[in-house]
């Protein structure tokens, strides 16, 4: 059993409080740095994709997990990021600034979509964002001058200071670097005044409001930050897929992102990463086990989406806290080793907060 016993302010401020955690995360980072030299090429590309999805999932988690605003339309921000990046590169903007512009433009659109969030909440917001994602896909399909329409658009190579980052290994390190930066930024943001305000808005708008938190402002701010991070992921995704078509940014991508944060466990950045890793690896995993299945199942389409649905349903029904909740239970089991009891994390009885107006 571990007891918090702080002897200086520094103890309370460090991200990783204990040597075990520091060693574990350093080892993880080291392993990730070595990976491209060990794994076969195909998997290095896959890992870059996983990192990009982690960034997008972190972006969505900021909104859904920390401010409690459900967005079913984050594929739109990925699309905006990807197309802005591609267009900027084709206009001769160098790679670094183009990433920033893509993120910022996505953030501006996030501001525009976030403003209604003051007026509509809950299911209504989910519907607005859903409609926005579909409209964005339509717009991309019909705005041929910039996006190439349904014919698609090929993406320029990312060249930073004369060094081509488009290769497999450089791109892997680029994605890893951006992911670490975003993660560190969000981790610190959530510990700051802003992050606390986000959580306050999530847990009770009325309570937050009466404590002097500017609820509307923080809601919109969460939208902007979330859109920026997701747009950044979109810009990187453009370089990963190398050829953009509107179909690549459809509703299913939005739902996949929501799946990631739900399965990962709402309200935790670790959950966002775990969920993103699981969901973006799942298609590869399914195509691996397909040969082992009977032919009439493996030959058919639709197995993938069925497994997605099944995994989501199982998590919602049996582990609403997601992978992060599982991980915390496991960690507690190790830390309290002989003393772990099954009902340590037993869910209390909860009653539905009805939105009916009586």
């Amino acid at each position: 059993m571990r007891f918090h016993y702080d002897t200086s302010y520094h103890d309370g401020q460090t991200l990783l409080r204990y040597p075990v955690g520091r060693i574990a995360y350093a080892a993880l980072l080291l392993a990730l740095l070595v990976v491209p030299w060990v794994l076969p090429k195909y998997y290095v590309g896959e890992m870059s994709y996983v990192f990009i999805m982690c960034i997008a999932s972190l972006g969505l988690m900021t909104l859904v997990g920390y401010t409690g605003q459900v967005s079913l339309g984050h594929s739109a921000f990925i699309a905006i990021g990807a197309y802005t990046e591609t267009w900027m590169l084709s206009q001769g903007v160098p790679f670094g600034p183009s990433l920033l512009i893509a993120a910022c433009l996505s953030g501006v659109i996030g501001l525009v979509i976030g403003l209604p969030a003051i007026r509509v909440s809950g299911l209504y917001l989910a519907m607005v964002t859903l409609a926005f994602a579909i409209l964005t896909e339509h717009t991309i399909g019909h705005w041929k001058g910039v996006t190439g329409g349904f014919n698609g658009l090929s993406v320029g190579n990312p060249v930073l200071a004369g060094f081509d980052l488009g290769g497999l290994k450089p791109f892997y390190y680029l994605c890893l670097g951006v992911l670490v930066l975003v993660l560190a930024g969000l981790l610190n943001l959530m510990r700051s005044k802003t992050g606390r305000a986000f959580m306050g808005v999530r847990d009770s708008e009325a309570a937050a409001y009466s404590l002097g938190i500017w609820v509307a402002g923080y809601k919109v701010l969460a939208f902007v930050i979330s859109a920026m991070v997701t747009g950044l992921a979109g810009a990187l995704l453009a370089h990963h897929v190398r050829f953009l078509t509107p179909e690549g940014f459809g509703l299913i991508l939005s739902l996949e992102l929501v799946l990631m944060v739900t399965i990962g466990g709402l309200g935790s950045l670790r959950g966002a990463i775990l969920g993103a890793v699981l969901i973006s690896m799942l298609p590869t995993f399914i195509s691996r086990i397909k040969p082992m299945l009977p032919e009439h199942i493996s030959k058919q389409f639709g197995l993938e989406i069925f497994v997605f649905g099944l995994v989501l349903a199982l998590f919602v029904l049996f582990e609403p806290k997601g992978l992060n909740g599982r991980w915390i239970k496991f960690r507690t089991f190790l830390q309290t080793f002989p003393l772990y009891r099954k009902d340590m994390f037993k869910r209390g009885k909860s009653y539905m907060k009805s939105e009916r107006y009586k």
Binding site: V120, H138, G302, F306, L312, A313, L317, Y357
Partner: protein, 294 residues
């Protein structure tokens, strides 16, 4: 009648036919929402799955149309009943988001199952009204459109009569308004909510069977649930007459947008309406006043 007027009448009728489908799908959504406060994203997939089952029975097994239609509707009703009684009930008391995610999960599984068992190709089946036309006052209308409008009207009327006049219908209304009070007056709330889900599933199946001959039997049919969402919002969230009115209006708006607005607006119209109404006029046409208790 002048050419222009005839065209407008034609568009209005076509819009009403497709709008009647939206209205029925929206009706199913509102019924389950009122009964369990769950926005059923799987509704469109029940619709899609029943059109595939209908195809399987009519073309695959060679059953007569009416028998196949009745079987399909019954199957969809039983399926929806079990979704509520066995699955959705597990998460009662959790935040609304859990309900949304669970229905999305069910939707994914249904979509996967249908495309695994039937394959992804589009197909069609014959109905007693396929390919026939009627001319009314110079406007040519496909019989199928008339049947759709008639069916929508019939279902709405029967449902209204059922909800207003029968004891069970009143029980459903009571359970939708206040579950605890309904339970205390002796209504079996669990069974009643499952029944509402069953009715909603049956309506979805009727929509699927009617929509398939116009739009082909296809996995993409589920998208109609998004259009229906727009209809629900336009009519005022949680209002049954509003859902019907919103659906019909949306169908007409779409048809006119297809002709009078630039290319691409027809498909996007529903979503523009949804966003516009929610932001500018969240009450919708017939909605109750919004308010939230602290």
């Amino acid at each position: 009648m002048s050419q222009e007027l005839a065209q407008i009448a034609q568009l209005a009728i076509n819009g009403m036919a497709i709008g009647a489908i939206y209205a029925l799908v929206a009706l199913g959504l509102v019924l389950t929402y009122k009964a369990t406060e769950v926005l059923n994203f799987a509704h469109g997939d029940v619709l899609m799955a029943s059109s595939f089952v209908g195809w399987g029975l009519i073309v695959g097994l060679g059953w007569p149309f009416w028998l196949a239609a009745l079987t399909t509707v019954a199957l969809a009703a039983i399926f929806s009943w079990f979704v509520d009684a066995r699955v959705m009930r597990q998460i009662v008391g959790q935040p609304q988001f859990a309900g949304v995610m669970l229905t999305i999960a069910i939707a994914f599984m249904l979509r996967g199952l249908v495309s695994m068992s039937f394959g992804p190709e589009s197909r069609n089946y014959p109905t007693p009204w396929s390919g026939q036309k009627t001319e009314i006052a110079g406007v040519v209308i496909a019989d199928l459109s008339l049947v759709i409008i008639a069916a929508a009207l019939l279902i709405t009327l029967v449902l209204f009569w059922f909800l207003k006049k029968t004891a069970l219908g009143v029980a459903i209304q009571a359970a939708s308004q206040n579950q605890l009070a309904a339970y205390l007056s002796g209504i079996r709330v669990k069974r009643v909510t499952s029944l509402v889900w069953g009715i909603s599933g049956a309506i979805a199946a009727v929509c699927g069977l009617l929509l398939a001959p116009i739009a082909l039997v296809d996995i993409g049919l589920w998208i109609v649930v998004l259009k229906a969402l727009a209809a629900v919002v336009l009519g005022g969230f949680g209002s049954v007459p509003g859902a019907i009115l919103g659906g019909l209006l949306l169908g007409v708006i779409e048809q006119f947008a297809g002709v009078y607005l630039p290319d691409g607006f027809k498909d996007a119209m529903a979503y523009l309406v949804l966003i516009g109404v929610l932001i500018l006029w969240p009450r919708g046409l017939l909605g109750e006043a919004h308010g939230r208790r602290v």
